[in-house]
Symmetry: C2
């Protein structure tokens, strides 16, 4: 299991699909995960800690969890099959009981950002999907919006 | 306050935007609310009680609430200002305490469908936005996908 950080949110120019780049905290490798537009917007707002004028879906989800005295212990990108990534949210209730909930990576990451929960990538996912991260320096992250990466190339490499 | 049902999910041909039609349970009037694509898909799956292969965001939200022993007492479309509708989700915790949570109508409705919570529209919203529902008979609902309504006309009437 590798602890990961959301390193960048990019757009794959080959199909205009958003991609989130999940970087291993302790190496230069990263796992790119293709996500939907709405989830990308939600992750972008989570990253910027800007507030959308109205509560986005994952802001609402955070409020629901907070009001019910729950917390998210961690999220894990646990599997990848036929190009579909599978995640689990480890939800803890007030009494400390933990529930592992099947979720899509995009929801898991959008929620983890808002609840400041740690993100992990299972070793088998990492081995099958990790690429060399184009963001070696922490500061590069700030420039992710401008970064002109060829994600079509990424996809071919991990395909 | 009027109890409402989600009567139809349609596409406004003037801008391809999805519209949910919220009908007064006890009259022939309905309030149309324009929503985003992702929320429309989520509401469509909620209406059909089909399962998407992976949990959609609002399926995940339901699981989070269920695991934390919460419930949704009701959702209320409580206000409309400059064409933006405001909703509240009344979340009840295990001890019976109720939290009123600010939310967008699309999230509120997608969640209400999955938790079978009642939906209400405040009188002032109803008065400013309600139109004559094109679906008079219950059975018409089944045909909503084919229904070729001119929602541009709707928008002009409520504008």
């Amino acid at each position: 299991m590798r602890e990961a950080v959301i390193k960048a949110l990019l757009v794959d120019p080959s199909n205009n699909s958003p991609v989130v780049l999940l970087k291993d905290r302790y190496s230069s490798k990263a796992v790119p995960i293709w996500i939907g537009d709405a989830e990308a917007m939600s992750i972008a707002f989570g990253l910027q800690s800007d507030r959308f004028p109205r509560p986005l879906t994952h802001d609402l989800m955070k409020t629901l969890i907070d009001d019910l005295k729950g917390s998210v212990e961690k999220v894990v990108i646990g599997d990848v099959q036929d190009g579909t990534y599978y995640a689990s949210i480890f939800l803890k209730d007030e009494d400390g009981e933990v529930y592992e909930i099947d979720a899509r990576p995009s929801d898991s990451l959008a929620l983890a950002l808002r609840l400041e929960s740690p993100i992990y990538v299972a070793e088998k996912v990492f081995e099958s999907s990790a690429i060399e991260s184009p963001f070696v320096e922490e500061d590069d992250f700030q420039e992710f919006v401008e970064y002109d990466m060829n994600l079509g190339e990424f996809r071919r490499r991990i395909g």
